[in-house]
């Protein structure tokens, strides 16, 4: 048995030998000839256009250039937003200041946070996004398992309804649902988001059900039969075998559901806020939507140091994105790999 060190040494020796041999080829040649030999036509061609095994330099260069350019375009609005949010009034007017503000001016953030009621909205936003998400995970997992595991009558029909409920715009059912919530007295409370989620009809729930459906179909049937032979009932099989194996799918659903609920302002305003103005529920995105009016009223009462300007608005935008951005950078690996592992693209 060769030790690792020995192997390394051998590899080094072989490399040196190769080099010696290569150098020997060039021995006795003039500099020009050496150059010619080293950069022969085929070699250059292979370097630029690639061979069967390796991609050429030109192709890689084009790919990197495109990716970097488009990537810059992608981040451009964010960079613009952040840089503008630190500018004070003079910087905004000064045309020589383009990207870097002359000083690190934080007053915009302080004022924006005050106007948006940042900490309260943040906490409520977490609740508004978090509770329905948890319901979504459990119920969609349950329903998805039912669709994947059992062959009952009208299954295809129900699947069609599932897809139909995704394609149908929310606006059609919005008005009667609003009336329904109003009659149930849950309008303007968080229940108007939690209740549909509890019955598998939360925001984008069809997608999540389909994700779980795809995932559970990949579980070998033998595994479930084995559990049944060992005396596990239907529910026990579900939570002892299906649920633990579905963790990648759960992470996917968790992330997407949270993000989608967080970014939803239309329905939040309609149901959770109830449009009556009396509700205590709000989140950052809704606050951002009504930012101009609330900021102007704050200015009128003299609560803020600056008046409404581009940089304050950008500061508010940054603040409303910031929590998700932080979560994203911490969990980015899960975000990006989630769809691969959960097999959303199975069919």
């Amino acid at each position: 048995m060769m030790s690792k060190k020995e192997m390394k040494r051998k590899a080094k020796e072989a490399k040196a030998e190769m080099k010696r041999r290569n150098d020997a080829e060039y021995d006795g040649l003039s500099f020009k000839e050496k150059l010619k030999k080293r950069f022969s036509k085929e070699k250059v061609h292979r370097f630029l256009f690639g061979s069967k095994e390796k991609d050429g330099f030109l192709k890689m260069f084009a790919i990197y250039a495109l990716l970097i350019c488009i990537g810059f375009v992608y981040i451009y609005p964010l960079l613009y937003m952040v840089s503008t949010s630190f500018m004070n009034r003079d910087d905004l007017l000064d045309s020589s200041v383009k990207w870097l503000p002359s000083s690190f001016y934080l007053q915009n953030y302080i004022d924006a946070a005050k106007s948006m009621d940042f900490w309260v909205s943040l906490g409520k936003g977490f609740l508004i996004a978090g509770l329905p998400t948890i319901c979504n995970i459990f119920i969609c997992m349950f329903v998805g398992y039912g669709f994947a595991r059992y062959d009952f009558r009208f299954k295809k029909f129900f699947m069609v309804i599932l897809i139909f409920s995704y394609i149908l715009p929310r606006q059609v059912t919005m008005i009667p649902t609003y009336v329904l919530y109003n009659n149930m007295k849950i309008l303007g409370t968080i229940w108007s988001f939690v209740l549909p989620a509890l019955f598998g009809n939360g925001l984008n729930a069809p997608i999540f059900i389909l994700i779980f459906y795809q995932f559970f179909r990949q579980i070998p049937k033998v595994l479930i039969e084995a559990a049944a032979l060992d005396g596990a009932g239907h529910f026990k099989t579900f939570y002892r075998i299906a649920v633990p194996s579905a963790i990648p799918a759960i992470i996917t659903v968790l992330l997407f559901s949270f993000v989608w609920y967080w970014n939803e302002s239309y329905l939040t305003e309609l149901y959770v806020q109830g449009l009556s103005g009396k509700s205590i529920w709000t989140n950052l995105v809704v606050q951002l939507k009504n930012f101009d009016t609330s900021f102007t009223s704050k200015t009128a009462t003299g609560d803020t140091a600056t008046s409404l300007s581009e940089s304050v608005r950008m500061a508010a935008t940054t603040l409303s994105i910031l929590p998700l951005l932080l979560i994203y950078f911490v969990l980015q690996r899960h975000f990006v790999e989630s769809i691969d592992r959960s097999g959303i693209t199975g069919e």
Partner: protein, 347 residues
């Protein structure tokens, strides 16, 4: 399968145990079924009912006045902003969806190459998914962060104006001026394409390479057919995303109509708007289904053709058989009659 075969085949009914197990499927999907009843089907029926009425909110509850198709005539004849916006929306979607899907495919293909910093690039291109909420987008667009200043839109629009109808050209111009937004809408699509691309069997590419296929050919003959279902999925996803996106003015219009205190508008009027909107979206979705739906390939077509030919042949054969049998019977009868007559005469 012809009749004879069908007769011979024994139909296997699932056993009692299997049927009882299948019934468990209903237990699992019950929560969702209830939810569909309460939050999808009932509101759907109600809003269908609402749209034929003028609804006024009184302290005693809602007061319905039947107006027939009055809501529709009002939308179309008296308040023309909605139909105008609807037409704009249709053009916008038809222009933007292909751009988004093709762009997502391009980025996904580039990210699927053997490149360095792949994780970083994925991070960048997936970033917009967590940011694209209505208010944030509105803020960024209104502050001009969504356009690249050096891009000259006017000349592009002018160029398109010459060859295309003006409504389409103006949409394309709009698209160019909000290019970053379009790019931002393709986060999830990139991810879906990426995971589909990674599932393409590498053996296919190897086989193609041995047969002398280049990269371009491989793309059209292997990659694209394999991920074709994903193209459809992404197109539908994009349509739905654009329809429920808060940048879309139609949904704001519906909401405003719902809560406008005027006499003629209200729940019924908004319901009529929502139904028209839903109809348009379904038509667009249908269009993409027809365009991108899985057409059968040459092999399937040949099989179907052969089957049909075989069936026809069998039918002809059967009719010949029947005809000859009939003739045989007729001849037999004639002979018998002859015999009878002879017998009678004889008598």
């Amino acid at each position: 399968m012809d009749k004879q075969e069908k007769k011979n085949m024994i139909k296997v009914r699932p056993g009692r145990l299997a049927r009882r197990e299948a019934r468990m499927g209903y237990v699992f999907i019950t929560p969702w079924l209830l939810g569909v009843l309460a939050f999808l089907l009932m509101p759907l029926a109600e809003s269908f009912y609402y749209m034929w009425f003028n609804i006024r909110i009184t302290p005693l509850g809602m007061k319905f006045t039947p107006v027939g198709t009055g809501n529709f005539t009002q939308i179309w004849l008296e308040n023309p902003e909605f139909p105008q916006q609807l037409v704009t929306y249709v053009w916008q979607t038809i222009v933007e969806v292909p751009v988004i899907v093709v762009f997502a495919l391009l980025i996904a293909i580039m990210l699927n190459q053997k490149i360095k910093f792949r994780a970083f690039f994925r991070l960048v291109f997936f970033l917009p998914v967590i940011i694209v909420s209505g208010p944030v987008m509105n803020m960024l667009v209104s502050e001009g962060a969504a356009t690249i200043p050096s891009m000259n839109v006017q000349s592009v629009v002018a160029a398109f104006d010459r060859i295309l109808p003006s409504s389409l050209a103006s949409e394309i111009g709009e698209m160019f001026s909000n290019m970053i937004m379009i790019l931002w809408y393709s986060g999830v699509q990139i991810l879906i394409f990426l995971s589909a691309l990674q599932k393409v069997d590498p053996a296919l590419y190897e086989a193609a390479k041995i047969d002398g296929g280049g990269g371009w050919e491989c793309f059209w003959k292997i990659t694209l057919p394999t991920i074709k279902p994903m193209v459809l999925l992404n197109a539908v996803y994009t349509v739905i995303f654009l329809s429920s996106n808060e940048q879309n003015e139609l949904i704001t219009m519906i909401k405003n109509a719902m809560f406008s205190g005027t006499k003629e508008k209200g729940y019924g009027y908004a319901s009529a708007m929502a139904w028209m909107y839903a109809l348009v979206i379904s038509l667009i979705t249908l269009l993409f289904f027809l365009l991108l739906g899985s057409r059968k390939d040459a092999y399937d077509r040949a099989v179907i053709k052969a089957k049909r030919a075989a069936k026809k042949e069998k039918r002809i054969q059967r009719s010949i058989e029947r005809r000859s049998a009939r003739r045989a019977r007729a001849i037999k009868r004639r002979i018998e009659q002859k015999k009878y007559r002879e017998y009678a005469n004889h008598d």
